[in-house]
Every structure is written in structure tokens, then in C-alpha cells.
């Protein structure tokens, strides 16, 4: 049992640090150009632009420890914004279930960050119970195309997306997990209407997408008809682990501590107030533990073992920790957290404090509500069944 990085890992860490330092965004530099170039340069390092893609698709073939190092370093460095929809959600489906033509058609554009994708899974009556989805896809008699009608909801960034990958229902018979088909649909066409949903923080990030008689060529179907649920399912589990965000929380906690230290109280700062201090300490302890829970999970993956039971708790703990950090940010800001948007009131960090916190409430809802996650742990890890 040891926690030392191997000499090779240490070398890799230095290499990553050097790359990140060298290619950080410089004041005044054009952001969009820097961004695309950054991914190009990362690609030239040997697939660093697509860390999780398999080697046969150009990925770097890192060990879990290398992935951990990458996450940790990029969490605190300045890296360009990136979207998971094409890169981490669609791409694995295409690699595993798409045909060669689809792979050649879509993967390069995803890698170059040229095309934006969004994810069409949830529906108004299919949230936690995703398999309940009703968006109907009917194959034409000549078998050349589907006609798709239905409504998708919580579609993040649909309003800037070029394409949507959709779960659609092609059959109502059998179990509801059957009869679901995976389709790729261009967004900019007749029959697709995107309606913004404004979330509590006041942001427009998610949308409702109405599809009315949208024609989708059969070549845009991934895999077999009726097998879409199987394709999407593995991905969902994968998505959840990513949502824990432990590395980002470590950085966020450090920022919070700095911010709280700027709130003067008597001869000290907010950090000296026992109540606040205790909550911060409790949070930090949980995060110290969660970081090792993640390492244990990585280490067992590195040994080629199945992910241990500890990995199942990462999304649950990780999202709770993120929310607590946001809550303590609000508390640090005091009444100034209540100011909306760019007001001049109070501590600089406090601005938008409540909106950040409000947004974070979604973390325990999206990507599998915590209650559903606990049902899953009860069943799959503890072996309990529900009445």
C-alpha cells in the first residue's frame, strides 16, 4: 500500500504542468483563436485533446493515474472551455456502436471542436424514469428515413448546437427499455423549435426542444433499431462518475477560503468565526476523504479490477460537496450575495453568490437524482430490493 507516484507519473506530471503553463491564455490574446490552437497543440502532444478516447481513435492511452493527474492539473490551470456532449457522450457511442462511415463522418469534427452537439434524452415525463420516453420515430415505408415527433427537455445548450443525438421510441410493445432507437439529427432545420428554459440563477443554459415531423435519414441511426437504451445506458453510468468533480471542488474550496479571509470581522476575518470555521473544516474533511475515495476507485481501475463499491458513491458525495461549497460562498458574502448580477455592492466575490448556489441545486437532480442514485446503490451494491 503506498501513495507515491511512480517516476514515470512524476515525469508526466511535469510535462503536463509545463504544457499548461506554456499555453495559458495571455492577456489580450484572442480567445477563440487561442482555444482552437490549444486543442491543436494538445493533440500534437499525442491525443491530449481527447484524453478519454481509446488509442485506436487517437487517444493517449493514459493510465488511470495519468487521468487523475490531468484532471487535477487542469482543474487549477487555465484551459479553454469545452463541451462534453460530442466529446464524452456521443463519441463513445459512435466508437462502440456506430458504423465506420458514421465514425469517419462525425468524430473528426468533434475532436476539432468544430461541431457542437447536444443531448436529447430527457422528456417532460421521462426524467429520473428516462425509459419512459415518448418521442416517436416512425420509419418510412421505403425504409429510407424516420419521421420524428416529440419533445425533449433540459437540453443543455440546444440553442447553440448544430446537432442533437436523440433517444426516440420506435416501438411500444415489450418492456419500455426496448423499442428505443438512437438517432442523430441536425438542429438547424424545419420542424425543430428550441425554447429557452430560464433556471433559478437567471441563466439560459437548458432548453425545451420540440420536434415536429422531423425527417431523419436512416443513415443517421446508430446501431440497430430498438437497441438505443443499451447504447445509452453504459454512458449514463460513465457520465455520473465525471459529475463528482472532486478536483474542481478542491480548487473551489481553496478559493472560498481566500474569499472568506477578505471578510473582516473585528481583529480577524470570517475564518475566525467558530460557526463558519467549523462548517468549512467539516467540508474540507469530507473532501479529503472523497479525494481518496476517488483515488481508491482509480487505483482499482488501474489494476484492471472492476470498479469497487467506493466508485458508486462518488457522484452522490461529490455533488453534495459542490453544493456545500456554494452554500458557504453565499454565507461568506452575507447580504451582498443577494445582489443580482453585476451590482457594485459588497465584496467582489459575493456578486452572483446566490445565483451560483441556486444553479448548484441542479447537481443532485440532473444526471440521475440523488434519490435514484441511492436506489441504485441499494440494489447493486448492497443487494437490497425495493417493494
Amino acid at each position: 500500500m503506498d501513495i507515491d507516484l511512480s517516476p514515470a507519473d512524476i515525469a508526466f506530471q511535469s510535462d503536463v504542468r509545463a504544457f499548461l503553463a506554456e499555453n495559458a491564455h495571455k492577456p489580450g490574446e484572442d480567445y477563440a483563436a487561442w482555444r482552437l490552437n490549444w486543442f491543436k497543440l494538445a493533440g500534437e502532444k499525442g491525443g491530449w485533446d481527447i484524453p478519454k478516447w481509446p488509442v485506436e481513435f487517437g487517444g493517449p492511452g493514459w493510465t488511470p493515474t495519468q487521468h487523475y493527474i490531468w484532471e487535477k492539473e487542469t482543474a487549477s490551470a487555465q484551459t479553454p472551455w469545452d463541451l462534453p456532449f460530442g466529446l464524452s457522450m456521443l463519441a463513445p457511442v459512435l466508437m462502440n456502436y456506430g458504423n465506420a462511415e458514421q465514425q469517419q463522418r462525425f468524430l473528426p469534427d468533434i475532436r476539432e471542436r468544430k461541431v457542437n452537439w447536444c443531448q436529447g434524452y430527457s422528456e417532460p415525463n421521462a426524467g429520473s424514469d428516462l425509459a419512459n420516453l415518448k418521442t416517436k420515430a416512425t420509419l418510412s415505408e421505403d425504409g429510407t428515413h424516420y419521421t420524428v415527433t416529440g419533445t425533449k427537455i433540459w437540453t443543455t445548450l440546444a440553442h447553440i448546437a448544430d446537432w442533437i443525438f436523440c433517444l426516440t421510441r420506435t416501438s411500444d410493445s415489450g418492456k419500455k427499455q426496448e423499442g428505443i432507437t438512437f438517432l442523430l439529427i441536425p438542429m438547424k432545420q424545419e420542424g425543430i423549435e428550441v425554447k429557452p428554459i430560464i433556471t433559478l440563477g437567471g441563466a439560459h443554459s437548458v432548453n425545451m426542444v420540440h420536434l415536429t415531423d422531423v425527417r431523419v435519414p436512416v443513415e443517421n441511426r446508430v446501431g440497430e433499431e430498438g437497441k438505443g437504451w443499451t447504447y445509452a445506458k453504459g454512458l449514463l453510468a460513465h457520465e455520473r462518475t465525471g459529475l463528482a468533480g472532486i478536483s474542481r471542488s478542491l480548487v473551489a474550496l481553496e478559493n472560498l477560503r481566500k474569499q472568506a479571509a477578505t471578510v473582516q470581522r473585528g481583529n480577524g476575518t470570517l475564518l475566525d468565526e467558530p460557526g463558519y470555521r467549523a462548517k468549512l473544516a467539516e467540508l474540507e474533511v469530507d473532501l479529503l476523504a472523497a479525494e481518496y475515495t476517488e483515488l481508491r476507485s482509480l487505483a482499482s481501475a488501474a489494476n484492471g479490477s472492476e470498479p469497487g463499491p467506493e466508485s458508486s458513491i462518488l457522484k452522490l458525495k461529490g455533488t453534495e460537496i459542490q453544493q456545500r461549497i456554494q452554500k458557504l460562498t453565499v454565507e461568506a458574502g452575507g447580504i451582498y450575495s443577494a445582489a443580482w448580477g453585476q451590482s457594485s455592492a459588497g465584496h467582489k466575490f459575493a456578486r452572483g453568490g446566490m445565483t451560483g448556489y441556486l444553479s448548484s441545486r441542479a447537481y443532485t437532480i440532473y444526471g440521475g437524482a440523488s434519490e435514484v442514485q441511492k436506489d441504485v446503490v441499494a440494489k447493486n451494491v448492497l443487494g437490497l430490493r425495493k417493494s
Binding site: 419512459n132 447580504i335 457594485s344
Partner: protein, 374 residues
């Protein structure tokens, strides 16, 4: 021992409920939030006509002459409607400052116009460095022959925009956190040297940062004693905390009941959400905490009516619990509404935002727990 409403209180409660029913659909409210003023002048006039603005004002000055338990009934009912009009700023905080602090002449001149809705007040007590301490005051008040000069900056003044007068705390003498030396003045908002920057708050209200640059205030507008204003400030804060807590309890009731309804309608996995035992128990917890808050609201209010400032400890207990429970109920109402809970489309999110802001007003949960434990 009796916790029933009096007949007048029952009528008041009913009239608020009817007003909200008729006027405060979510869409209407959000329309008002987006308007310049941030609330409705016609509604304000209706509130005046219904007598709500005079709840705290003695009958001799045209008011109803109620005490804190009457205010509680009013605010709890208003909390159920997320009402935007500045009743709290003007008719609770503002009138307390005038009724307890102003001279007879000012009372006679000003109070009837507050009750009639013609004028509005707002109280500027907060300063950035003070966090939640009322006695941390650096705004400077300097006496001169016929009055005072104020210089300094007050922060997060709710509903200052559109107010005719500001009640301002400043320091006549003493160190930054001395209770002695604090003076309250009634400042005409249109005075030379008053500079206001206004902005919306998360809960759809309005607040302002206000700079005072050598602003003149006539002697007659002294509230309470010169240098002895802290006790008046504390009275304002006590009434303020009781009123906000009542509003919060009203909002909590809507949140837990909306959650009960929503989970009965929403189906997942072929069952209404309300069938799931984990969600049932969560709602039981929400309900229990709501009932506990309501009990403590009654306790603090009745104790203040009986014993005034001597009941301060219970007031601290209340504000602590309202902050803690408000967050608990708000977070769970949102969680149990799922995706819809985090949108602006359902009302739960808006109630939750109001509870968050209430927690931060006049000191948050941590702050009051520490005060209670002192």
C-alpha cells in the same frame, strides 16, 4: 393561553389571502419584477386602502394601532404571496422608526401620509464593513447650528428607490463599534448630496447603495436621542426580524404544500412520486420543521409583545431557526420538484429565493445562533 387569531386578525388574514388570489399569479408577479419600479403602484394604493400600511401606526395618527402579533398575521399572509410592494421596508421598519423615534410634529405630519400610501420610507442601517452588526457604524454625523450633516455610505438598502425619506444610522461620537454614539436621522431622499445606485436582488426586489456627501438634515428630523439611537435601531431590528420570520413561515407553508401536491401529480416509474417512502419522509420532515418554526414565531412574537427588548434572546433563536429551516425546506422543495424545481417557471424556486434573502437580512442563521448562545 390562546393561539387563535382575534376576529380582526382573521379578517386581516382573509383580506390578504383574497388580495393575493386576485392579483398575484406568478406571471403577473414576474411582470412586476421586470418593471422599472419593481412593484405595482396601484397595488400599493390598494394596500393602503385596506389599512395594511397603518398596521403599526397608532390610531391617533390614522393607523390601526396593532402590535407585533398583528404584524405577524399580516406578514405571514403576505409571505404566501411573495408580495413585492415595500410593506416591509416602509410600513414595518420605517413606521417603527417614526412612531418610536420622531417628535410629535413629525409624527403628525408624516404618519398619515405613510398610512395613506402617499409617501414611502426606507431604513439605511447596513454598512459594508459591519456585516450583520448594527452597532458597527462609520457613517459620520456632525452637528451644526440648525441640524446635522451626514457623510458616508450605506449598503444594501432595500426599497430605497422610490422612497421619499430614508432613516439613516450614523455615528456622532465613539469608536467604530460602540453602541453609544449612534444617531438616527430622517433624511429627505431628495436632499442634495444623496447619491443612490439601485439594482435588483435575487428575490426580485430592489436594493440600493447610497452615498451621503455632507447631506444636511434639520434638527427636527432627529429620531430618538442624539448618540442614543442604538436602542431605537434595535427596536427596528426586532420588529424587522419578527416580520421577516413571519413572511418566511408563510413562504415555507407554500413550499411544503406545493411539494406535497406536485409529488402527488408527477409520475415516475409508474407511480406518483408521493408513493415513494423516502420522499414521504422528506415531506414529513419539511412539515415538522415548518411547524417548529411556526411555534417559535408565535413564541418570539408573543414574548416581544409582553416583554419588549427583554425577549431579544428568543428573537435570535427565531432568526436562526428561520434561516436553517428556510434553507432546508427550500432545498428539498426544489429537489423534490426535480428539473422543474430549478426553473423560473414554477413558483417554488421564487419562494426559495425569497427565503435565501431573508436568511441574509438582519443577520444569517450562524450569526443569530452565536448571539443566542452568548
Amino acid at each position: 393561553m390562546n393561539f387563535d387569531l382575534s376576529e380582526e386578525q382573521q379578517l386581516l388574514q382573509d383580506s390578504v389571502a383574497r388580495f393575493i388570489e386576485d392579483n398575484y399569479a406568478l406571471e403577473t408577479r414576474q411582470h412586476l419584477v421586470a418593471s422599472d419600479l419593481g412593484f405595482s403602484e396601484p397595488y400599493w394604493q390598494t394596500m393602503a386602502d385596506l389599512g395594511w400600511l397603518g398596521i403599526n401606526v397608532p390610531e391617533a395618527h390614522g393607523g390601526i394601532g396593532g402590535n407585533q402579533s398583528d404584524t405577524m398575521v399580516l406578514m405571514q399572509a403576505l409571505g404566501q404571496g411573495l408580495v413585492l410592494e415595500p410593506i416591509f421596508a416602509s410600513a414595518i421598519l420605517g413606521t417603527r422608526a417614526i412612531v418610536d423615534g420622531a417628535n410629535e410634529d413629525t409624527c403628525t405630519r408624516l404618519l398619515p401620509s405613510l398610512v395613506s400610501g402617499e409617501r414611502r420610507l426606507s431604513v439605511a442601517y447596513a454598512e459594508e464593513q459591519a456585516r450583520f452588526d448594527l452597532d458597527d457604524v462609520v457613517t459620520r454625523i456632525t452637528p451644526q447650528d440648525d441640524g446635522y450633516r451626514i457623510s458616508g455610505r450605506k449598503s444594501m438598502v432595500f426599497h430605497a428607490q422610490g422612497s421619499d425619506y430614508l432613516v439613516v444610522s450614523g455615528r456622532s461620537y465613539g469608536g467604530q463599534t460602540d453602541r453609544d454614539g449612534i444617531t438616527l436621522l430622517l433624511v429627505d431622499a431628495a436632499s442634495e448630496g444623496v447619491r443612490m445606485t439601485s439594482f435588483p436582488t435575487v428575490d426580485g426586489l430592489r436594493a440600493s447603495e447610497i452615498e451621503f456627501e455632507d447631506v444636511f438634515v434639520p434638527k427636527a428630523h432627529l429620531l430618538g436621542a442624539e448618540g442614543g439611537g442604538y436602542s431605537l435601531l434595535e427596536s427596528i431590528a426586532i420588529d424587522g426580524i419578527l416580520a421577516l420570520s413571519a413572511e418566511a413561515v408563510g413562504a415555507m407553508e407554500v413550499l411544503y404544500k406545493d411539494t406535497v401536491s406536485y409529488t402527488q401529480e408527477r409520475e415516475q416509474f409508474d407511480h406518483p412520486l408521493s408513493d415513494f417512502q423516502v420522499l414521504q419522509h422528506r415531506m414529513v420532515d419539511m412539515f415538522m420543521e415548518y411547524e417548529q418554526c411556526k411555534s417559535l414565531l408565535y413564541r418570539a412574537t408573543l414574548e416581544v409583545v409582553q416583554r419588549g427588548h427583554a425577549a431579544l434572546k428568543t428573537v435570535h433563536a427565531l432568526k436562526y431557526m428561520v434561516g436553517k429551516v428556510g434553507t432546508f425546506i427550500g432545498e428539498n422543495a426544489v429537489q423534490l420538484h426535480g428539473g422543474m424545481g430549478v426553473t423560473e417557471e414554477l413558483r417554488v424556486g421564487h419562494y426559495f429565493k425569497r427565503l435565501l434573502v431573508i436568511d441574509a437580512q438582519f443577520g444569517n442563521s450562524d450569526y443569530h445562533l452565536a448571539k443566542f448562545a452568548d
